[in-house]
Assembly symmetry: C2
Homo-oligomer: 404 residues x 2
């Protein structure tokens, strides 16, 4: 589920944006409509202050939330979507790509990573639109390697991520080892069990994969909370295992970065311009990570072409970006796309910054209307992974942390 925004200026320019979706998210923007009328697209520092001044205090970790749904982050998420639409409008007014509006690109293309999932067969669309996805079933190390080869061949990715925390850790360890055997050390590997492991299990996996997750790879959110991560880290370091940890769960906002740094709980921050506050905040995070000696990569949620370009500009404009960014884009198809001209193209695993103003894409309103109709027919008004699992896989399924 995604929200698409349009912001119209009095000069007749339309800036666009994409963010997290669902009825509650959309209502936020409906409520902002009047408040934004008449404001100046250049005065974003004040807008940030105004929109985030009332931000609630509270736990910023995303351990128990679907990404982008922590209510504490709502003002920052909303600001991000508006900031990006403003920067798109500015880019169009000045005939300048978005990454150049905010200070100039650090690279001409943003590198992305293959994103592997264990999955049953099927999985695309709903109702009359149900379809097999292009990758098929992947419930073992072998089928996962097949998925990886297919995705790498199609997009040219140079780094590979596995969403773990799904099968028994031993099978996931085996999957990473098989991926390493198939691709060799030139393709850094990362695994992300979404905090599904206990501290002990995390230490065991870190130990088993001490060879495979180094050289540009990482272990992402093996266990919940900064203290858990810090304990795993310290126990692995005591064994001489320096595998870095990445997080988009324990570190989701600026105030958590120095905390994570002090505890040495996280060595690579996974930003997400959609909930960190937009393109300039992505740059700020990039610079903060550089100053603190932390790595930086990017978190992804399901998204379509506008967000693909938001992430590309965010990646291109980040002076410090140490790992290829995540993207769910290979899991979408032409049928899901809302940008004119069809899907965004990758070159050797990277999305080049087009020589066009702003984000560099515009909306296909027919497709947008079709996707809106599809949303109306959905049984959910917000993303609900547990309901999906209970309906299609196991009627008793629920999320348990740690599961192993």
């Amino acid at each position: 589920m995604r929200t698409i925004l349009e912001l119209k200026t009095d000069q007749g320019i339309t800036g666009i944006s994409e963010t997290y979706g669902g009825d509650k998210q959309t209502a936020v923007y409906e409520n902002l409509r009047e408040r934004l009328k008449g404001r100046d697209v250049f005065q974003l520092t004040c807008l940030w202050r105004d929109m985030t001044a009332q931000a609630a205090e509270g736990d910023r970790s995303q351990t128990m939330f679907v990404p982008g749904e922590n209510p504490v982050d709502e003002p920052v998420r909303a600001y991000a979507a508006i900031e990006i639409a403003c920067l798109d409008a500015i880019g169009k007014a000045w005939n300048l790509p978005m990454c150049d509006v905010v200070g100039g690109r650090a690279r001409d293309a943003a590198p992305f990573s293959a994103y592997l999932f264990y999955k049953h067969a099927g999985g695309g669309g709903m109702g009359s639109d149900v379809r097999e996805d292009e990758y098929g079933e992947a419930l073992s190390a072998e089928s996962l390697v097949r998925q990886a080869k297919q995705m790498v061949a199609k997009y040219g990715f140079k780094e590979i991520k596995l969403k773990g925390g799904v099968l028994d850790p031993d099978e996931e360890i085996r999957s990473i080892k098989e991926l390493r055997a198939a691709f060799g050390p030139k393709y850094p590997l990362r695994i992300d069990p979404n905090c599904a492991w206990s501290v002990d299990t995390s230490v065991r996996v870190g130990r088993e994969l001490r060879e495979e997750l180094t050289d540009g790879g990482y272990l992402e959110d093996p266990t919940a909370e900064l203290d858990g991560m810090a304990e795993v880290r310290s126990r692995l370091l005591a064994e001489g295992i320096g595998t870095p940890f990445a997080s988009n769960v324990a570190v989701t906002s600026f105030d958590l970065v120095p905390k994570a740094w002090k505890k040495d709980a996280v060595q690579i921050v996974l930003s997400d311009p959609h909930y960190w506050g937009g393109i300039r905040k992505q740059r700020q995070l990039s610079e903060l990570c550089q100053v603190l000696g932390l790595g930086l990569s990017m978190h992804s949620n399901n998204h379509v072409g506008v967000s693909m370009m938001i992430m590309a500009h965010a990646g291109a404009s980040s002076p410090h970006l140490t790992h290829a960014c995540d993207t769910h884009y290979p899991w979408q198809t032409e049928l899901d796309e809302v940008v004119e001209g069809g899907r965004i193209q990758f070159t050797e695993g990277a999305v080049p910054i087009p020589d066009k103003p702003g984000l560099g894409v515009s909306l296909d309103y027919d497709q947008l209307a079709r996707l809106r109709e599809r949303y109306a027919k959905l049984p959910y008004r917000k993303r609900d992974d547990e309901a999906e699992m209970r309906q299609h896989v196991d009627p008793n399924w629920r999320r348990v942390l740690p599961r192993w």
Copy 2:
């Protein structure tokens, strides 16, 4: 001594900048001339990377340097001057004030502080241009209060800084107490002895001025180096004295900020866009300080109107700015000014951002030529405080740290 730069774009726009002066500084820009030809004013991220890639490693503290003269910082200083000229050109191309080019202003005027100096009578100009300055002699607490009243009446400053480390600490303590008696607690006070005190003396002064330097005031660089500052801080905290410490000597670059933070050696960073890397780096520092819970104010060196506006835009665009910025501007006169229309005007101690593109000022070429002639007649090719002191005050004078 200052350097004025002009950068001409192929669209016929001229961006201007001002930075530290002297033959060596100027040579840096002469050498950059060819290297900058044909570059894009928007591609500042690459320019930063290219210009600072070869930056030497070394001690970044300014303890033994005149500000802006640490050779380790040369590439960052040079980049800053060029970045600001580029942003001035962009602002002129887009008809947008500089602070709005980089993300929008946090405030419409940048607040500055009165800057008091102990001094002998005289002190303005040289050769045929020698003149009494407007403030006269100030070598005691009483004459300093007179200087403060005169400066506050003229400019409307709301905060007051004393450059200390000049007289015996007891007289400087007395000066601060007299200033507090004269102005009351609504005027926060700060004193900066330029590291002239030992740890013990710093603790003693902190103790004596425990009342006067709180409520928005601070103690700036009482002693040398981060470890010295941290020791003073910890000893004062043990006595229940929380007076914050500011620094532009022990913390002069991004890598030193987390070090200072970890040691709790510095609570307020004094930026200087001229040697921290320009306007966007000033914003980065502002955001870094906010994330780390540090305060932010601004260092000043002698400067004229272009830098006055650089500092105003830097201050206006800093989301987080906790104290009024320093400026030497009250110590210059119409005779020293290089901007068209004469001196920059203050409103209630602040410099308003003019409704003009870029920095909002342009050069007076006649004045610039006169100042260049004056520079040619100077006996020095770089700022040399010791030589000045030996020639005019004490033939045996030299800088000793700590002096007390």
